[in-house]
């Protein structure tokens, strides 16, 4: 019997894994991908809630999340590309000019 609780639990686990990825990886693109993982986990949760409440609003929200995630990836990767062109480095640790 697969209750929605299982799906929520899976979503939580994926979300936490994504968090760890953001904090631990140094390659900017991998950090991005971890953020995408978090967004996907959230989408799963929304869809599950839609099923629970017997309303499609959750699915609409998940849909919009996907769209916005796509736009965000576009802009983010464009920024990353121009940074890489300037500095020849894709490590997030190199952008530390705001140091004290």
């Amino acid at each position: 019997m697969v209750s929605p609780a299982h799906f929520i639990a899976l979503s939580v686990i994926l979300f936490v894994i994504g968090t760890v990825g953001v904090l631990v990886r140094r390659n900017a693109i991998v950090v991005f991908m971890s953020v995408e993982l978090m967004l996907n986990a959230a989408n799963l949760a929304f869809v599950t809630f839609a099923r629970m409440h017997n309303a499609l609003d959750g699915q609409v929200i998940a849909f919009f999340v996907m769209v916005v995630a796509a736009a965000e990836v576009v802009v983010g990767l464009a920024i990353l590309t121009s940074i890489f062109r300037a500095r020849r480095s894709a490590s997030v640790d190199d952008a530390n000019l705001m140091k004290y």
Binding site: S3, N43, A71
Partner: protein, 275 residues
């Protein structure tokens, strides 16, 4: 179709159970692999696995439209965009394992475990009962119902999102654009450079005279040696003594990938090339 395939009957229960658990374990394993893999391309592949398994889970939850959008848009477009940028940045940029910020891993572990515990507590306290009986809108009528909802109740966010998409596209073009710093070299100038560079003929394609013509198979020179010029350095990685980061735009990438950097890429062709 999806209705009686997945949601009908007690036998469907076991099916659903098996599918869920298999996919769940697969997704978690792939996610873990994603954050642990050293090469960035491997991470992208792992993410693709996660997304695909999620799409099947959407199908199970009665969101067929979203499942296909997930495959087509998310995995097919967004992830591929990731791969493209990886090509530009250099797939050879491997992360070193050594953590440079003191206490980062420790506190990341503590924080994420705490987050996990908290969220699990939330689920545990929330009263999540079994799913109610689903109507047609979770099955055959899903697209119609979704459309009805988007274009009536959520039409304003929809319009805003479209504006966002246009802005994003424009933004990406502006950000990735490179200004020309010198005058555009004419055809004559290009030809002169080509002749002056000492190598007027085009580079050999991969696999020429070799056993296969795979992209990563080097071509053979008349004397039997391999031509390193025939394989894109994107595929071979950097020479062993250059460290983790590539030394600038690989000169050949401008020829093998038809990117917008073709014009300026050729300007750097004469830098440090060898036969």
């Amino acid at each position: 179709m999806s209705q009686h395939m997945i949601l009908a009957g007690p036998a469907a229960e076991t099916t659903r159970l098996v599918i869920f658990w298999v996919l769940a374990i697969l997704a978690v394993a792939a996610a873990t692999g994603m954050i642990l893999a050293r090469k960035a391309v491997h991470c992208a592949m792992m993410l693709a696995v996660v997304m695909l398994s999620l799409s099947v889970l959407y199908l199970m939850l009665g969101a067929p439209f979203l499942a296909f959008v997930q495959i087509i848009v998310y995995t097919g477009a967004v992830l591929m965009l990731f791969l493209f940028v990886l090509m530009i940045v250099g797939i050879s940029a491997a992360d070193s394992i050594i953590e440079t910020i003191r206490g980062q891993r420790l506190w990341a572990a503590i924080g994420s475990i705490a987050l996990l515990v908290l969220l699990v507590l939330v689920i545990g306290h929330a009263a999540i009962g079994p799913a109610p009986a689903s109507g047609a809108k979770f099955g055959d009528n899903n697209v119609n119902a979704l459309a009805a909802l988007i274009f009536t109740k959520y039409v304003f966010p929809f319009e805003l999102t479209s504006a966002l998409l246009i802005t994003a596209a424009l933004g990406a073009m502006v950000l990735a654009h490179r200004e020309r710093t010198g005058p555009k070299p004419t055809q004559r100038e290009l030809a002169e450079r080509r002749v002056a560079s000492g190598r007027p003929a085009p580079l050999p394609g991969p696999g020429t005279y070799g056993q296969h013509n795979a992209v990563d198979m080097p071509a053979l020179l008349p004397d039997g040696t391999q031509s390193s010029l025939s394989v894109s350095p994107v595929l071979t990685g950097p020479p062993p003594d250059t460290g983790d980061y590539p030394q600038g735009l690989p000169a050949e990438s401008s020829e093998s990938i038809p990117a917008s950097s073709a014009q300026s890429g050729s300007a750097t062709q004469e830098a440090g090339e060898q036969w």
